[in-house]
Amino acid sequence: MRALAASLGALALLTLPFWLANPYHQHVVIMAGIFTILALSLNLLLGYTGQLSLGHAGFFGIGAYTAALLALSWEWPFWLTLPSAALTAGLAGLGIGRLALKVRGAYFVLVTISFAGVISLVSINWMELTNGPLGLPGVPPAELPWLSLRTKRAYYYLVLLGAALTYLVCQRVVRSRLGRAFLALRENEALAESVGVDPTRTLVAAAVLSAAMAGLAGGLYAHYTRFVSPEVFLFSYTVTMVIMVVAGGKGTLAGPVVGAVLFTALPEALREAMAWQWQMLAYGVLLVLLVFFLPRGIVPALRIHRVRAPALPAPSFLGEVSEGASTAPSERKMLTITDLSVAFGGVAALAGVSFAVRPGTITSLIGPNGAGKTTAFNAITGYLRPRRGRVSWGDVALTGRRPCEVARRGIVRTFQKTSVFPALTVRDNVLVGLHLRGRAGVLPILLARRAVREEEARLAAEAESIMAGVGLGHRRHETASALPYGEQRLVELAVALAAQPRLLLLDEPGAGMTGGEKERLIELIRRLRDGGMTVLLVEHDMRLVMGISDTVIVLNHGRVIAEGPPAAIQAHPDVIRAYLGAAARA
């Protein structure tokens, strides 16, 4: 059924110019193709990484000007100007991405607007290069050595090819390790970093790909209209792209295509009926209405939910643990913390803390609320820059490294507040956890190399065994945010275990669990240690802590007040005074 619809659609697209005799209609279809490329390009950033660029007209314009200038001044042939347009815009994307992606959200929006604004002013004022507001007329038509693409009909096929290629690139990227990293950063940047996703590199890759696609659209536009002026930078182009993506459904592959076709055809159809001011007014109102009534867009709203096989009965929770999690004894290293100090404003959260975590042991960090336990986790794993002190892993210094670099060394932490990738399925959550277990780069992904496909199959199999291991196999296709609390904690654990840590830092893993669940958690942590993993635990449940720890370290007011085996700690007078005293009486 799907295949039939797809082949009918392809046939319709391929024969379309023969149905449309009117050159004006052919023009509309070509513009729809160019906007499809633009919408797909914006969607890669907005839909998948969650970063809204309002500077996309800038990349489009850079592409258009590059193609026009190369063709006019240097008389480059069309088959060179078009890739150059994409390349130049991609380079601009690299520059802007590296600068702008230091900031997120609203600030990213503002930097991208400013970038497009500056580029537009340059195009108006740099008379020698761009001919200023008059623009560049007489861009040569598209000609290949053996084929002329002068006619609208021929150009339609060129644009169709461009749009199809762009779609294919988007499809390959979003279904790859890279695309999962985009989504992970959109959903929960801190968690993504904890399993080794490098936010800067990943987002810059998205910016470069997205900008290059917009540049390709610009090049196609320049050779089609054969005239380029500063109008290509018009903000209304960017707004049109945003509306296409939001209306069609951001974060879906088909959404931008549907949005682009709809919002190129609709205004043209309404052209006779209303002046363009009315159309723009309608656009604005429509955008507001969409947010209120169809916030996820047309495509997700139309998507028919496939009926799934009834859920299997839940297997025993925390059943088996993946064998992959074991660590060879030769790789065991000691975590050493020396004189670690962190201050928030004038308050010292950690005041010269030193301790060591012996390999292959379970060490617990306890202390009253505000003692600095989570702060210690944050400083060890790179989420906080300590004011003073050292963290080392074996003989490697971790201090000053970013969380994703710490994760690359095999040190993975969980978070006190339940932290999953809410909109992703359980399986995709675990696959993000496996990020560092794959190595496919951008180029092999785009070329769909066999190594990439084999890696995907291997990661999928590992994900299955991890889900089965923590007892989430029957939930694999459910969205993480839809799971009950206890199972979300399991997802969290599965994500961390997927990263195959050598040192696992668990921040209150037992919080909110029932007695039976905690028993199994203890069982699991023991088994991880016996497999060779080192575990550092922050936990409030004393029965749990005293039951499994090899060593207990007690923090109070940012200092270590005691350290030793559980029995010694329970008897330690300072500890009883600071902490256990209250708990023992309760």
């Binding site: 900031v103 600030y107 604004g117 002013l121 707004v239 939001v246 109102v285 955008l287 947010v291």
Partner: protein
């Protein structure tokens, strides 16, 4: 040197109104966590309201400016109640999209209502400039800068000295705690948005007579307001005031000594540089909100 002083004075006049725009936006941005792309449209509204009252209604100019401010406040309150209140728990991206939609809709409504031709707003001031040594300044500009300063002073009093201002500062610092202490967050949001919109409309009513009123005048105003907010730091009233004056002067100097074609690039470059190198604003040390 004389030319430099002249640029400085012109920059101060511009800067005063930029500060008004910036203060309004920084409150809305900081307190409501809302990227208000429609801010410039309230500025446009202020200019057109003044034009309508003076040129069509035959009102006194000063009454018209005051009326424009009131119109801005009412329009702002209405926007907040209708569009933003239902979306209070939505993400910042969602509300930003709504404000982009509102921006496009309002601008094109203005285009349809008033036409694309720029309107000049009549004012009662003599056109001959007052000369102070080497510097000449039109009496209208003196009025603009004094009114802007007075409004900035009033805003400061409102934020620092009134019950509403205290509640606003509390909400900015910690919304949940403020709500627990009995602050009605919904009302604070409405008041903040109305107040910020009134200031934007005031800036439009003041700059409209100096330049012209036209439908797309708000685009640049929005960008300038954002530059000011970023320059001054989020939710920082003193920072926005200083940032506005700095931007006005920087633009005048840039236009005078570099190229008038790149005048509006100054704001863009400021946004880019400050966000990249001092993301908390140039005046991050000063007290936030006031």
């Amino acid at each position: 040197m004389d030319a430099f002083l002249q640029h400085l004075v012109n920059g101060l006049v511009l800067g005063g109104t930029y500060a008004l725009l910036g203060i309004g936006l920084t409150l809305i941005f900081g307190l409501m966590n809302l990227v208000n792309f429609a801010h410039g449209e309230l500025y446009t509204l202020g200019a057109y309201a003044t034009f309508a009252a003076v040129a069509l209604g035959g009102w006194n100019f000063f009454v018209a400016v005051a009326a424009a401010i009131v119109v801005g406040a009412v329009a702002g309150a209405l926007c907040e109640r209708v569009l933003l209140a239902p979306l209070r728990d939505e993400s910042i991206d969602t509300t930003m999209l709504v404000m982009i939609g509102l921006w496009i809709a309002l601008q094109n409504a203005e285009l349809l209502g008033w036409g694309g031709v720029a309107k000049s707003i009549p004012h009662p001031f003599p056109t001959a400039p007052l000369t102070l040594g080497p510097v000449g300044i039109a009496p209208l500009r003196v009025f603009v800068v004094l009114t802007a300063l007075a409004l900035i002073g009033l805003s400061w009093l409102l934020i620092q000295k009134t019950r509403l201002g205290t509640a606003m500062r509390a909400t900015f610092q910690d919304r949940e705690t403020a709500a627990l202490m009995g602050v009605k967050i919904g009302r604070i949001h409405t008041a903040t948005f109305a107040f910020g919109s009134a200031l934007a409309a005031a800036a439009g009513a003041l700059l409209g007579p100096i330049f012209l009123a036209y439908p797309s005048m708000g685009d640049l105003a929005s960008l300038k307001a954002f530059s000011v907010v970023i320059l001054g730091g989020l939710g920082n009233l003193a920072g926005a005031t200083l940032g506005g004056v700095l931007l006005g002067i920087a633009e005048e100097l840039g236009a005078g000594y570099v190229s008038s074609g790149y005048r509006d690039a100054v704001g863009f470059v400021i946004i880019i540089l400050v966000l990249l190198f001092r993301p908390s604003g140039l005046f991050a040390r000063s007290q936030r909100i006031g």
